[in-house]
């Protein structure tokens, strides 16, 4: 009997000992089902490509290139105005040139900009390790991510730092070229010129690798060249800017006047890069057409009367302005950016050949090649102004004419703010603006053309102190 019981006890003990054996490594490391761990992303080309798509999605967010940057770039100028009422206070501080360090108009683009750079850096770091991709596929991913990084850095250095032309040694933005761990030492502000060195180097790499067979919603060779042209233009490296601008549009046909007046909501023959929103996937009310188109949205952007008067009577582009008393009895409505069937569904054309022609014209004029400059300017003017004569101006007069053409051609597309800054122009608002300004270069108020570094960054970044804030704030 005792023996029997002992036997049973031994068997039971063994059973239980079996239960005690420790569990596998997976037990303490279960994988989430609704997210991928970092280490599982750059394990296949498919995943890495999805991460690239994700980076474009971040870029198209309304906090960055989808709305904030383009709309703020025109509101910090003379040509468009913001309704003071029925606008839920959107962008009022921007229009007043009164953005303070704790305002979301500075902090959101700043945070999101670096989030996109983080996304791009993860791809630049991760793609070369892909086990199932060819060198060509890897290079393509890295090059696209580098264009992404350069695109974002160029926008941010234009917004958050003084113009390169004014002071290339001035503190620029944070230079982050690889994903940082949470505990890594913070980085401070890098001089403006070094930011441009990085931008140019990224873009030159990409220009070499990328082809021209991309969809307009994604970066290709032309986008890299166009961004190089923009960067060189900021740096007043007129020859390189001209060369890259010409390469960027080479072989493209300019869009027709019909396309220009047809609502600007989908890419066309001259589109180099556009944010490819779809009916299912767009920012709806926080979109350019929602603010610009006179109905179906916030509809709170108006054109300044003095700006509208600058157009010749026979300029087709003057049809982009209208007055409809039932909507707004006082101000010009803008018909440039239309919704495509549903609110917010419109591609946002971000880079197009016409801008490249105007860069070419400006550079040639600066270089003293007035004839080439006149040719490039004429290419743009003749499309919109029937019977217009070839420009005959030269020198400073020609440059001013080209800059004016940039306003007429590109208004609403997010250029004016930087054009004022990079050329050190005055910002003078007259006519029916409700916030009138006269900010002359060199004046005490000129600092307002550069956004403050967000307070949150100064608080969180151990490499920065209050003294690293931009002048004036």
């Amino acid at each position: 009997m005792t023996k029997h019981i002992l036997k049973i006890r031994v068997v039971l003990m063994l059973m239980i000992a079996g239960m005690l054996t420790s569990c596998g490594d997976d037990f303490l490391n279960p994988k989430p089902t609704t997210a991928l761990e970092d280490e599982d992303v750059f394990t296949s080309l498919t995943n890495a490509k999805a991460a690239m798509v994700g980076a474009y999605d971040q870029l198209s967010s309304y906090y960055f290139d989808g709305l904030y940057l383009p709309i703020m770039s025109d509101l910090t100028g003379e040509d468009v105005m913001l309704n003071s009422t029925n606008n839920y206070n959107w962008f009022v501080a921007v229009y007043q040139l009164n953005v303070l360090p704790n305002y979301q108009y500075a902090s959101n683009p700043w945070s999101l900009g670096y989030k996109i750079i983080y996304d791009a850096n993860k791809i630049i770091e991760g793609a070369p390790k892909l086990p199932d991709a060819t060198d060509e596929e890897i290079n393509q991913l890295v090059a696209e991510a580098k264009v992404m990084r350069a695109y974002v850095m160029l926008k941010m250095v234009e917004v958050f730092a003084p113009a390169y032309a004014e002071d290339p040694e001035a503190p620029g933005i944070l230079l982050v070229t690889s994903p940082m761990e949470y505990g890594a030492p913070d980085v401070g502000r890098t001089p403006v010129k070094d930011i441009y060195v990085q931008i140019v180097s990224d873009l030159l790499y990409a220009e070499d690798v990328l082809g021209t067979d991309n969809e307009p919603g994604f970066f290709g060779k032309r986008a890299a060249q166009a961004l190089l042209a923009r960067a060189y233009l900021d740096m007043q490296d007129w020859e390189n800017a001209r060369d890259k601008a010409k390469l960027a549009y080479e072989g493209m046909e300019l869009m027709s006047v019909n396309d220009m007046l047809g609502g600007f909501y989908r890419s066309n023959s001259e589109t180099i890069f556009s944010l490819a929103y779809t009916p299912e996937d767009n920012n709806i009310y926080l979109s350019i057409p929602s603010f610009y188109w006179p109905v179906n949205g916030y509809s709170s952007i108006r054109a300044n009367d003095k700006f509208v008067e600058l157009y010749a009577d026979n300029d087709f582009r003057s049809y982009l302005f209208t007055k409809v008393p039932s909507i707004d009895p006082d101000n010009y409505l803008i018909l440039k950016f239309q919704h495509n069937q549903s609110v917010g569904n419109a591609e946002r054309i971000s880079i197009r050949a016409s801008e490249m022609y105007l860069i070419e014209a400006e550079c040639e004029a600066e270089l003293g090649n007035d004839k080439n400059a006149q040719d490039a300017l004429f290419a743009i003017q003749k499309r919109s102004i029937p019977g217009v004569g070839r420009p005959t101006e030269t020198g400073e007069e020609l440059i001013n004419k080209i800059l004016l053409e940039r306003r007429k051609e590109l208004f609403g597309e997010g250029f004016r703010w930087n054009d004022i800054k990079r050329r050190n122009l005055p910002l003078v608002r007259e006519g029916d603006h409700w916030v009138k300004l006269d900010i002359q270069p060199g004046s005490d108020d000129y600092y307002r053309l550069t956004f403050p570094i967000p307070q949150r960054e100064l608080d969180a970044n151990k490499a920065l102190t209050e003294s690293d804030q931009n002048k004036g704030y």
Binding site: R9, L20, C23, L28, P32, A35, A50, V53, Y56, L174
Partner: protein
């Protein structure tokens, strides 16, 4: 009927050994002190199922097959008596009450302990407190019963949970809720699924020595719930039925009636016109022209009911005067039926119960129904093997309308829709027009919208115990816990939330699954005067939560919530979230001569929630106690019956830090250009750890004159490595990361006293008092301060510190609001007085301003009470029992958003007003605390300030219950063992200075239009067969 029942149960109980009848033993059982006979005492032969109970006169007679057998006498509340027969035929027995609570066995972490030998701080709440209360979950019954335990119920929604905190708030971002352990198994489901009547006892583990054995889950204390088990002896069948009427705990502040709101609105328009520079005539005309639009309806039978002073013309008849509270609230009916069967033999014991609970709620569209069943079985297989299983099942259906500031919240609608608004149109259809929540008539919506939540919960808990050697045993305890919720939110296509999309229906099903296995060795041995007690073992645990959600809009017909009826599908979603833990634990206890006790415990937890660099956490505790009365130099003090000192120190953790918080993650949904994409959503943080708590406890327990007993404790709980969001430079890709940075301390005193005042043959009266004081202080935040809404978090302050502008009253000259400027406050670094500052006309001697923005915020106390506790009384006379207990909470503050909404001073013209607003400033009523009423007021008078910060101290008669046990002589005739009838009242009486329905609001001290607390008066009957 009774016989059939018995037969079934006996068959169920398996073995019935046959017996020969050789000896008839009889006798009388009496109470030792009163010498009164005791009916209903269980008498059985040890080791068999043969038994009987004493009759009305305390007499029994039993057949015994072995003259050397032992008779066992047991009775609730009495010490069990064993008598060896030794051939006697008459055995009279005296039983004495189990007064010496020190010997009481209590369920503690991974085992049991006597109170005397325990080195930790723990309190037991017995079933008597929890049973027969008209509450959905047991925590509500715990309020005020034991020290250190704060229970806050902020909603009167039937089935809604309570916030339970043991010894203060332990965390900043993570949950501060205690761990619940049900029969040795950590619970993961909802506590309202557990039938309180199945509970035998609850142990609240408070300090390190008591709780540390639960390691990374013990930081905020542990509540151990033990369910009823079968008892050997005669099968006991009990049935109880209870019906109660529930209603709002108080009437709240009065709201304006339709005449008042109409006149007041007129006055507001008139005042606003005057302030805009109109003449008196123009202003009068303006008010006449607009008053109906502002109120929404003319509640009178004539078109121009007001005269030129804005007063209703004499003789005007009122057509509409809706009391929206009457429409939204109603009397609720609570029903609770329980059937319990308990019994067993020496080898097999069974407890089985079935229950039905229904609370029809006090608010439109809110109710709760629960069906539950339980079966606990244990069987002694042979001399060394015992096996058992605890099973639990419940199914509950909750209807709960949305809360908060949404328009669909009926509670808010009742407060903001004015009384001039009719519920129905003239033709009997619902009136959807009103000036506060347009298209959200709460009465109509309650009929048309559905907010329904169903939960099915099952818990299977098999266990096996092996006696390996005389002193060594082993127990394995496994549990599988599965709950399935089925939620439906349906917005009808015509009105309210669904009107914009022609109806919306969202259904979600989620599975919450957890399992737990523990394998423990127990070693217990006595060496002379020393006792050693060791536990060593291993435990593993896993939980998985998988929701699945789908929805549609655009319904072809109303009233059909199934998804098939909607034309537009919404994006469905599903996910699974999981965490696992593996633990090793050990505990040793040593005692010497019953005088000195020492204990030590250690536990290592490896958790999937912890970061890669911190996978295992180790937690320990040490404790000691000294029973001084056992020392010879104290033993001759007759009146001092017990004096015990104890102290403990140890560590524990809080693992409520999220399941994947340490991982770097990419999430889907970052689609672009028609392509699906992924994007980083979280930075990796491999150092992520549990929150660390170190706690010290010293306590003293005493008993004098065998009547007065009590204890007092001091504790200090320091929380470190608290989960908190750290700001990051944007260059790192994310603005913040959750790290272990915060630190906080809770320290306090607790004390309780129990006094057996009277104990005679007929009378018994005892009373108890307990009080808890806790101070919470933030030590470190990794940032100077965090301001949010009404609060300020800063080192040195507590977690719920109010930070508001300070209300200075109303300027008697112009009726404008005033706030103290408090320019010296650190709200703004500038200490200069604003231009708008002026001397307080009310004579405080301080500077005030009528510009809201110019006043600075100051620290104004905390939402946490300074102290709280309970006072209980138990009185019994013959067959009558009367018990009642009070709960008090003193010093906590509440920011009353709800009252602020009803005192809007014209900010929301057309919204209903509290009747207090009738005190508004007028040139004839200059000294008042309510500013001038001005339509479309923009002076911020009802914005956040101390104007609506109230002291929420209160004293509440939590429960009073009177019961009568029918005399056994009467009920034995109808073959019953016991019959009790009782009336009981819950929350029946409250003393408070608080405005509003109920001073018991969310623990953070703000009101959110929650369903007010309820009081319940119930009647019950309980039968033992």
């Amino acid at each position: 009927m009774k016989k059939i029942f018995k037969a079934i149960l006996l068959a169920f109980a398996m073995v019935m050994p046959a017996m020969g009848q050789t000896l008839q033993v009889s006798g009388v059982v009496t109470e030792s002190k009163t010498k009164e006979t005791l009916p209903g005492v269980n008498v059985f032969v040890e080791g068999t199922t043969a038994g009987t109970i004493t009759d009305i006169n305390g007499k029994y007679s039993i057949s015994v097959s072995d003259e050397n057998a032992v008779l066992v006498f047991s009775f609730v509340g009495m010490e069990t008596v064993k008598e060896k027969i030794n051939g006697r035929t008459v055995i009279n027995v005296e039983m004495s009450p189990t007064t010496e609570s020190l010997k009481e066995v209590m369920v503690v972490a991974y085992g049991v302990a006597t109170k005397e030998a325990y080195t930790g701080a723990a309190d037991v709440v017995n079933k008597e407190v929890i049973e027969d209360r008209p509450v959905t979950s047991f925590q509500k019954a715990l309020q005020g019963t034991t020290t250190g335990l704060q229970v806050t119920t902020s909603s009167g929604q039937p089935g809604a949970g309570s916030t339970v905190r043991i010894r203060g708030i332990g965390s900043l971002s993570a949950s501060s809720a205690p761990l619940y352990v049900l029969d040795g198994v950590p619970m993961s489901g909802s506590l309202s699924d557990l039938n309180p009547n199945d509970i035998e006892s609850i142990t609240v583990l408070k300090d390190a020595a008591a709780a540390s054995l639960y390691g990374s889950r013990a930081a905020n204390g542990v509540i151990i719930v033990t369910t009823k088990q079968g008892k050997k002896g005669t099968t006991q069948i009990s049935f109880s039925a209870q019906t109660g009427l529930s209603s709002l705990v108080s009437k709240g502040y009065r709201l304006m009636n339709s005449t008042e709101i109409y006149e007041h609105s007129w006055q507001g328009l008139y005042n606003s016109a005057l302030l805009d520079g109109y003449t008196i005539d123009e202003a009068t005309q303006y008010a006449h022209d607009n008053v109906k639009d502002v109120v929404g309806f003319n509640p009178f039978e004539i078109d121009d009911p007001l005269d030129d002073t804005g007063t209703v013309k004499p003789g005007t008849k009122v057509k509409t005067n809706t009391d929206w509270r009457d429409e939204v609230y109603h009397r609720g009916l609570v029903q609770d039926y329980n059937l319990g069967v308990s019994g067993g033999s020496e080898s097999t014991k069974v407890y089985f119960s079935l229950a039905y609970f229904d609370d029809s709620g006090t608010t439109l569209g809110s109710n709760f129904t629960r069906y539950s069943g339980k079966l606990n079985v244990s069987h002694k297989v042979n001399s060394f093997l015992t096996a058992g299983m605890n099973n639990q099942f419940s199914y509950s259906i909750t209807n709960a309308p949305p809360g908060g500031s949404g328009f669909a919240n009926p509670v808010r609608s009742a407060e903001v829709i004015n009384a001039a608004t009719p519920v129905y149109n003239g033709d009997g259809t619902y009136n959807w027009e009103n000036t506060a929540v347009f298209d959200f008539n709460p009465v109509g919506l309650a009929e048309m919208d559905i907010y329904r939540y169903k939960t099915a919960w099952g818990l299977i808990n098999p266990w096996l115990e092996i006696k390996i050697l005389k002193d060594l045993s082993f127990k394995t305890n496994a549990a599988f816990d599965y709950s399935n919720t089925d939620n439906l939110n349906y917005y009808n296509p015509e009105h309210g939330n669904g009107a914009g999309v022609n109806g919306r229906s969202t259904m979600s099903r989620s599975i919450n699954m957890s399992w737990n296995v523990s394998n423990l060795f127990f070693y217990k041995k006595q060496f002379g005067v020393s006792n050693v007690d060791v536990i060593i073992g291993q435990e593993s645990h896993g939980e998985q939560y998988s929701p699945l959600t789908a929805g549609v809009t655009d319904f072809s017909i109303p009233g059909q919530p199934d998804l098939i009826w909607g034309a537009q599908p919404q994006a469905p979603s599903s996910s699974t979230s999981e965490w696992n833990m593996i633990s090793y634990l050990g505990q040793a206890k040593y005692s010497y001569e019953g005088r000195y006790y020492a204990s030590a415990s250690i536990r290592a937890d490896g958790s999937s929630r912890f970061g890669a660099n911190n996978k295992y956490g180790v937690f320990y505790s040490v404790g000691a106690s000294w029973v001084m009365t056992k020392e010879s130099w104290l033993s001759d003090i007759n009146w001092l019956n017990n004096l015990k000192l104890r102290a403990s120190y140890g560590t524990s953790g809080n693992n409520n830090i999220g399941n994947y918080a340490s991982l770097g993650l990419y999430a889907g949904g970052a689609n672009y250009g028609g392509y699906p994409g992924i994007t980083p959503v979280q930075l990796p943080y491999p150092d992520l750890s549990w929150e660390k708590i170190t706690s010290l406890n010293v306590g003293v327990e005493f008993n004098i004159f065998k009547r007065l007993s009590g204890d007092a404790e001091y504790y200090n709980r320091k929380s470190d490595a608290l989960l908190f969001s750290q700001l990051l430079s944007a260059g790192k890709g994310f603005g913040s990361i959750m790290t272990n940075l915060g630190a906080m301390v809770n320290s306090g005193f607790e004390g309780s006293l129990n006094y057996d005042a009277v104990k005679t043959k007929d009378w018994d009266y005892s009373l108890g008092f307990n009080i808890s004081l806790n101070r919470n202080e933030i030590l470190d935040l990794n940032t100077d301060e965090i301001r949010s809404g009404t609060k300020l978090l800063e080192p040195g302050g507590d977690v719920y510190q109010f930070y508001l502008r300070e209300w200075a009253g109303v300027n008697p000259e112009n009726g404008k609001p005033m706030w103290f400027t408090n320019s010296q406050s650190d709200d703004d670094e500038n200490n200069e007085e604003p231009d708008s500052a002026y001397d307080d006309p009310l004579g405080s001697g301080r500077l005030v301003t009528s510009e809201y923005a110019d006043a600075e915020r100051v620290r104004l106390g905390s939402a946490l009470p300074k102290f709280f506790g309970g006072f209980n009384n138990f009185l019994s006379y013959k067959n009558f029992d009367l018990s009642f207990y009070f709960y008090f909470s003193v010093g906590g503050k509440v920011y009353n958003y709800d009252y602020a909404t009803n005192m809007h001073d014209g900010t929301n013209p057309g919204y209903n007003l509290a009747a207090d607003a009738l005190r508004a400033w007028t040139p004839n009523n200059k000294y008042t605390d309510v500013p001038q009423y001005v339509a479309n007021n923009q002076n911020y008078s009802n914005q956040l300030s101390s104007r609506f910060l109230e002291d929420a101290s209160y004293l509440r008669l939590k429960n009073i219950s009177l019961s009568y046990n029918l005399p056994a002589s009467l009920i034995n005739r109808v073959k019953m063992k016991a019959l009790k009838v009782y009336v009981s009242a819950e929350n029946i009486w409250t003393v408070t200075g608080y405005h509003g329905f109920d001073p018991e609001v969310a623990i953070s001290g703000t009101t959110h239009n929650s369903i007010p607390g309820v009081k319940v008066v119930s009647f019950g009957i309980k039968v033992d067969l």
